[in-house]
Symmetry: C2
Subunit: 698 residues, 2 copies
């Protein structure tokens, strides 16, 4: 099993993270905007004196009628204000009859927006002490404005209010997507819905729904019912559910673009139809992950009428103008081994497998065009002669995006937005689809439509998917909506913490499922020491979890300690910042706080041991916890040395370095997220002479 | 707005709780069964030496094929074992092809069970060190047995295991239901589904789905689409969703019985069809709660063809043999005020409104019979001459149940199982459908089919419904499944705590939503002091929340502090038990623990104040928190007096009593659940002379 897409990507990401360190530190600041908790940061914010008080007389009104998109958004706005404030609003904001044409909050728009790229999503918001007016060319703009208004809701001693402000806002990119992979792990309807709510809160507008994979065919086909019957273990979306989700998304101004990944990543199709594969069957649903060998047979004329019928059915089911055909990571071995395919290539003058896939795509393109859909595919589908209304999605990198833009093709960026890799939000945040040094001209820049966060689901279940998506995806949403100059990492994290809490009101489980998972592991309610450890730990990054001595399959439990840990620990980040602050300033207050944190980590191991003794599922974290305690002890000693202005003995420093190097290694499929910062303390007290080994873990 | 059903019920419950105190304390114990955490307690448990080890070689097999109920149950069993233990099981337990006919765990059954009352749900379970055999006459029995097996899963130093045991089990009552009221507050599909999983885990077998109310018409009608279009604010179940839920329930051995409440509780129907009401329209969806006046007009011949078509449609949609027509709380005023109805009564010789309703029911009965359904209704539908295959659901009390049984009618009990009233689990647990002193003969007893917990949803949203249902409903489930002699309240609570945690693995939010709600209230992540307060607080019982100076409607926020508090605080219960233990034994260890708890409560107020200052939504809890601190201080002083063997001054005691009487009053729609126990400490130190006032709050 190879992870080629992932492996290549990893290198790209690592470089990116490395390069990003510079600009991040030197980011611009926008003090006025930063005073608010808005995310994504609007184009223009003009804060004024005065407050619009929110009390039980709050009312909303506009020209929309029940059933309209804007009416629903207004009702949800009122409901969320009530939920957050506990105020018993007097207005019957759901009233189907006599709905208000005006209110203390008035919304107005010129026309219903269309769910397609380049649609106008701009809005303006004017908050005066007695009136809020939200205006937009389209009702989609109204939706975006209501989300801003909810982010403006604040409180003071007198109660709740919205600050007086004038906001003019519009997105930088028109394509701001989230890919959810329902193939590798099925995600039930409610998981999709609550994430659509999260997307809407961050003004994202494309759900890229990865519906077929080696591990499962997840959509009901009425034309070829054996596809989902045999290819899904019963875990698929009915067409009624698909329509329900499309409608739910449309109500939130979100397009739903389906992906049916062909000719590779297609094992689950062949359980029902082995005759369309390049190698003889029978086939079973793939449980392992990676790049599998099965692929459609482009040389077999029967596959095209099949696709014609299938894509015809799906084109009618999904209203989006775009349909994604995948096209990535065709392994090629089954093509090479099939004499009929080899003969076909020769006959057609197809030089290699890339040419063969280009032939296949050209046939598919005709089919999609006949059914009124524009084609989207991963980098690999790019080839000369394609019509320019297709969209290339780049997992390989910005260079690929630049290359296709130069040739006149539209593109979206996903490289650098692989949220399944458990990278920090900062990494994604600083990854710009059009970096500041870009050599693309104005016309070419317009071809870069935006980007998509990709929630590949090898290691993600309905229990953990929210914590893998949120809050980090909010940073990507801001990158795609806000001006390129909005790059203050510290301010992003400040607002991200606020956003993360507010996302909970939408039913998202990214915070609350941690306690549930830890209680299950402890088989008891008292999880304090587990929570302390979890704050210092992050899951292994990139694809490291796949090389820890066990093979993950689609049936493996993802309920271990590592799965309960957030991809990015905010506590670890705070610790790192405090360490740097202490090292640079040496202030006593920072020292005091660091000592408190380090002492808690040091003492935690003893508190955790009884829990581990009672639960075999926790056994694997004993070394992790012990190592944290030891690292904390090293940190405490280093701290004391620095405070006293004493240099530690070379032996102690050498020993500490060795321990920290060990502590940085993977344990229980996770890693200690605080070792690097402890190493900084050690380095700070031991001085330059001792730098060598510690550098290894930095 | 009256609350007649509720008001009468309240009196019944209060009496019941009072009477129950005796037997509870003197309950039987079954030490062997109690050593396990099984709930409901099986009929017979024979624990043996030896352990069946659970490791990655665990496998399951039986005669069922993919798509069968038992196959699904076996797959869920494996998946839950993996999730709880973190073990990477080797068996591909989902495999659609070549599914195992045998395994380390083998299940066998004779026939598929029917989803109807009196079906055989028995099973036997034999666990040997090398083999588990689960046998049942029906596949429904197999489902019940898998749940027992999951409750048996234990751990020791060597890992996970199932203790060797022989279990023979069958339910005492055939009707073990949960009513979910989707009318007053709509509950989305996933809320219903996760609660179905909770029901299955507790071996419950009837979802009584209350689908229409004054506040909403929640089911799609294709025959009369205006019903849901105008009567639901868009919050209704599509027929596809209804079928999805019925199938989901059937997979878990649960019947779905719909209720369409007529002729009262029907305002939402009249938004579309005012012509069927007893008073002229127009009508709007009711937002307030209570017994509303609108009712169908039984004198209008047009209503019967309407019901014939409507119930015909619903009879086809819901496969259950029973259909519930409600029939409760017809207010009568609109009937009295309508001259045509008065004339009709005279002409037909119908003496009063009860007779008029009986006439209406008789017409409905014919309609239901024509569509192949048996009728179920609340107490009020009872009248002479009904066929004996109907079922009476008693909200009035066991007497009503006895009365109908004597007359040959089947009945189910809901009085005493009103879980919306926030009563302790103990109260429901000791409420037996056939109390030990029952004078019913054997044949009459058989007519008592069982009971139903009722989750009326005036004050319940999708966010809070789980915490209002669980874990207390597990005590009702045990009452309806286990032998009547299983009445050890302490042991019930011990097992309830285990069950509560395990229910989380099914996605139930009863525990994890508290943190989410408190974070929203605090508008921040640090909620420690709020959690401490929440442990000492319970929502007001019975219908008291409706008389706190605000009018709850179906649009009111249920996001306040009171909504985050569990209906029954286990911490408060533990405190009460420790107080009693200390008073009776005077041991120092109990004193130490009480002091620790009381000191935490006393100090909590200072910690909470900054949070309150930052959040207007928390303002209302300041008196609650202050009062807890003061009560704790009183408790600490009393404790110190008792330990020293000193009597406090009469003035202090008098002051303390006054304070505690104040502390027992409602605040922020909630009450302190620990005041009574503090009063016991005060009484214990102040002695008999001071008993008077404190008695008031006991």
């Amino acid at each position: 099993m190879a992870h080629s897409r992932q492996r290549r990507l990893f290198l790209g990401m690592a470089m990116l993270a490395f390069l990003a360190i510079g600009p991040a530190r030197a980011a611009q600041s926008a003090p006025e905007r930063a005073a608010l908790d808005l995310m994504p940061v609007p184009e223009s914010v003009n804060l004024r004196d005065g407050r619009f008080r929110v009390d039980d007389s709050l009312s909303v009104g506009g020209q929309a009628a029940p059933g309209d998109r804007a009416f629903g958004a207004a009702a949800r706005f009122m409901s969320r204000v009530a939920a957050r404030t506990g105020i018993f609003l007097k207005q019957d904001f759901l009233a189907a009859r006599g709905s208000a044409a005006d209110g203390a909050v008035r919304y107005e728009f010129t026309r219903p927006g269309k769910l397609e790229p380049l649609e106008d999503e701009s809005y303006s918001l004017i908050v005066n002490p007695g009136k809020v007016v939200l205006s937009a060319p389209t009702d989609i703009g109204v939706l975006r404005g209501f989300e801003t208004l909810l982010q403006l809701l604040s409180s003071d001693q007198a109660g709740y209010y919205i600050p007086c402000v004038e906001i003019i806002d519009r997105p930088r990119f028109t394509w701001r997507g989230l890919l959810i992979d329902s193939g590798r792990h099925f995600q039930p309807v409610e998981a999709i819905k609550r994430n659509l709510d999260g997307m809407a809160a961050l003004k994202m507008n494309v759900l890229h729904w990865h519906l077929t994979e080696d591990q499962g065919f997840r959509v009901e086909s009425k034309v070829f019912p054996r596809l989902h019957e045999l290819g899904s273990d019963g875990l698929y979306y009915t067409q009624a559910q698909i329509r329900e989700i499309i409608e739910y998304a449309a109500d939130r101004g979100i397009r739903v673009m389906p992906e049916f990944d062909v000719p590779g990543h297609s094992t689950s199709w062949f359980v029902a139809y082995p005759e369309f594969a390049s190698a003889p069957g029978p086939y079973a649903i793939e449980r392992r992950f990676g790049v599998a060998e099965p692929a459609f047979n482009p040389a077999d004329e029967r596959v095209y009428p099949f696709f014609d019928k299938f894509f015809g059915e799906m084109a009618a089911l999904f209203p989006d103008p775009y349909l994604h055909i995948g096209g990535d990571e065709v392994e090629g071995r089954h093509w090479d081994a099939n004499p009929a395919i080899q003969a076909f290539k020769k006959k057609r003058g197809l030089a290699d497998n890339h040419a063969l896939q280009a032939y296949f795509n050209t046939r598919l393109l005709k089919i999609l065009t006949r059914h009124g859909k524009k084609m989207v595919g991963w980098d690999e589908i790019f080839q000369p002669g394609l019509p320019t209304d297709i969209v290339i999605q780049s997992w390989r990198g910005t260079e690929a995006l630049v290359e296709s833009a130069r040739k006149g093709y539209q593109g979206i960026l996903s490289n650098g937005y692989y949220i399944d890799l458990c990278q920090p939000a900062e990494t994604h945040y600083l990854n710009d689809p059009i970096p500041s040094g870009s050599t693309l001209d104005e016309a070419q820049r317009k071809l870069v439509l935006g980007g998509e966060a990709t929630m590949w689901s090898e290691l993600v279940t309905p229990e953990t998917i929210d914590s893998r998506i949120w809050p980090r995806t909010a940073a990507i949403a801001e990158r795609l909506w806000s001006r390129p100059s909005v790059r203050d990492v510290g301010d992003m994290y400040r607002r991200l913490a606020v956003v993360s809490l507010r996302l909970e009101e939408l039913g998202l489980t990214h915070l609350k499922n941690q306690g549930m998972m830890l209680r299950r592991l402890a088989a008891g309610p008292d999880i304090g020491p587990l929570e302390v450890l979890a704050q210092a730990v992050e899951p292994l990054k990139n694809y490291q979890r796949h090389s820890q001595g066990v093979t993950y399959t689609s049936l493996s439990p993802l309920t271990r300690f590592v799965d309960a840990c957030a991809p990015e620990s905010m506590a670890a980040r705070d610790f790192r910042i405090k360490v740097e602050s202490f090292i640079s300033s040496g202030d006593r207050e920072s020292a005091q706080e660091l000592r408190k944190t380090l002492t808690a980590w040091k003492n935690n191991h003893t508190l955790l041991l009884p829990l581990i003794a009672r639960s075999p599922a926790l056994k694997e974290i004993e070394p992790l916890s012990l190592t944290l305690a030891e690292a904390a002890e090293t940190g405490l000693t280093a701290l004391a040395h620095i405070e006293k202005g004493e240099k530690p003995s070379p032996d102690w420093a050498e020993g500490g370095r060795g321990k920290l190097n060990e502590a940085a290694k993977p344990m229980a499929h996770a890693e200690l997220a605080v070792v690097r910062a402890v190493g900084r303390l050690l380095e700070a007290c031991a001085g330059p002479a001792g730098r060598g080994p510690v550098r290894d873990i930095m």
